[in-house]
């Protein structure tokens, strides 16, 4: 979706404010939101979680802190999955008649789960269309749902730099429509192709783009 989350190339947000190394959480509640999101049954689909944050209306999205967005998306996903009812959310207490669940992530499994080696690569018997060195163009796609094709590269020409194998396709997976693995590439675009003649002739931006996002240039 052409949401406000797709920030690449926008201007007017001011300087970046550096921050010393330290705790990743600035308030205790931020750590709890992070932990609840990671432990929640809804975490099984990371793409759906990302899309839920994109669905926060633009003005609200920009006005929220990072973990306020996580809190909002966790709350709405719990409601969508029927794991919590609106009445329970409003009361802050469980319906006594509702069944009790078993936590998906018990304490004794946390360390092993967080450090487990996972992979988003899947078998896909169809050979990749492109090879390193091939010229490609990012297609001008404007899906209403989730995508990882940022607006700032759509219609722009780049070069395939690397093939990463077939990865789970977020555009499908986020909507519960299956993993639909497709070849994932690193595609490099020159800064001038993206931003015009005022950009440095040396600089470039590389993105990871799935094959359905690309056409031969």
């Amino acid at each position: 979706m052409n949401g406000v989350h797709d920030l690449g190339g926008m201007q007017g947000f001011g300087p970046v404010v550096p921050e010393p190394e330290g705790s990743p959480f600035h308030h205790t509640w931020e750590g709890r939101v992070h932990a609840m999101t990671v432990a929640s049954p809804t975490r099984a689909n990371i793409d759906a979680g990302r899309h839920e944050r994109e669905l926060i209306p633009p003005a609200a999205y920009l006005g929220m802190s990072y973990y306020e967005r996580w809190f909002a998306s966790l709350s709405s996903l719990l409601l969508k999955h029927g794991l919590v009812t609106p009445e329970e959310m409003a009361r802050g207490a469980a319906d006594p008649a509702a069944p009790r669940h078993t936590p998906r992530l018990p304490a004794e499994r946390v360390e092993a789960t967080l450090t487990a080696r996972g992979s988003y690569v899947r078998d896909n018997p169809t050979p990749p269309l492109f090879q390193p060195g091939d010229g490609v163009r990012a297609r001008n796609l404007n899906p209403a749902g989730h995508t990882r094709l940022p607006r700032y590269v759509r219609g722009r020409a780049g070069t395939i730099e690397r093939l990463h194998g077939a990865h789970v396709l977020p555009d499908s997976h986020a909507h519960g429509a299956g993993e639909e693995p497709r070849p994932l590439y690193t595609v490099r675009f020159t800064a001038r192709e993206l931003w015009g003649e005022a950009a440095s002739p040396r600089d470039s931006v590389a993105l990871n783009l799935w094959e359905p996002y690309l056409e031969r240039a």
Binding site: W29, P106, H164, N208
Partner: protein, 203 residues
């Protein structure tokens, strides 16, 4: 630890908890009551991201790459495997790529669409990495972003920006500072900064 800010949301009895603190506490209590989350698991997750992962992990990877050419070659060929050999793996580090700064090339990592970041080697991202300012500008004005960090890159240095749009995560291998030939791996790791491994700073 998150104790150096004005908005204390745990029971100190001096300031009322914030609205967000109350809402989060209410949700946690509801999820625990329904059996959807284990409160001890939440404690363990917070502890993991506060104490067990962080930029010191990545610094160890970088220092080893500086001192062990065979490791560096493996890191460049298959960063996921090479980093796993040092014991760093897991969520948001499933597919690692190491990119190396040289006198001619400077690398900068961003996630314009959300906040993708290599958790096992750098921990959770700083606030600025997740900010609209960084996510918007890193791709269109990387040299300006570097200036915000006090880093002025010569015109002749090529800037390569990496936008983390999939589950591939990047670690920048900064240039080894001059005059460090006498230092061992541990001393070198102490020189490596988080911002250096994102690419907003040079060492």
């Amino acid at each position: 630890m998150a104790h150096d800010h004005h908005d204390h949301d745990h029971a100190h009895g001096q300031e009322p908890p914030s609205d967000m603190a109350l809402r989060v506490r209410a949700l946690e209590s509801l999820l625990v009551e329904k059996g959807l989350v284990d409160p001890a698991a939440l404690d363990a997750i917070v502890d993991h991201y506060e104490h067990k992962v962080g930029p010191r992990n990545g610094a160890r990877v970088v220092a080893k790459a500086w001192t062990d050419p065979a490791f560096k070659a493996r890191l460049r060929a298959d960063a996921t495997e090479a980093i796993a050999d040092l014991g760093y793996m897991g969520r948001q580090g499933e597919h690692m790529v190491a990119v190396e700064n040289t006198p001619d090339v400077h690398n900068l990592v961003v996630c314009t669409l959300c906040s993708c970041y290599p958790w096992p080697v750098l921990g959770l991202p700083p606030v600025w990495y997740k900010s609209s300012a960084y996510r918007s500008r890193a791709v269109i004005d990387p040299r300006g972003v570097l200036k915000d960090f006090g880093t002025e890159l010569p015109e002749e240095v090529e800037v390569r920006v990496w936008d983390s749009t999939a589950e591939v995560r990047y670690l920048v291998i900064p240039e080894r500072p001059a005059g460090t030939e006498h230092l061992d791996e541990a001393a070198l790791a102490a020189l490596v900064t988080r911002d250096g491994m994102i690419g907003t700073a040079r060492l």
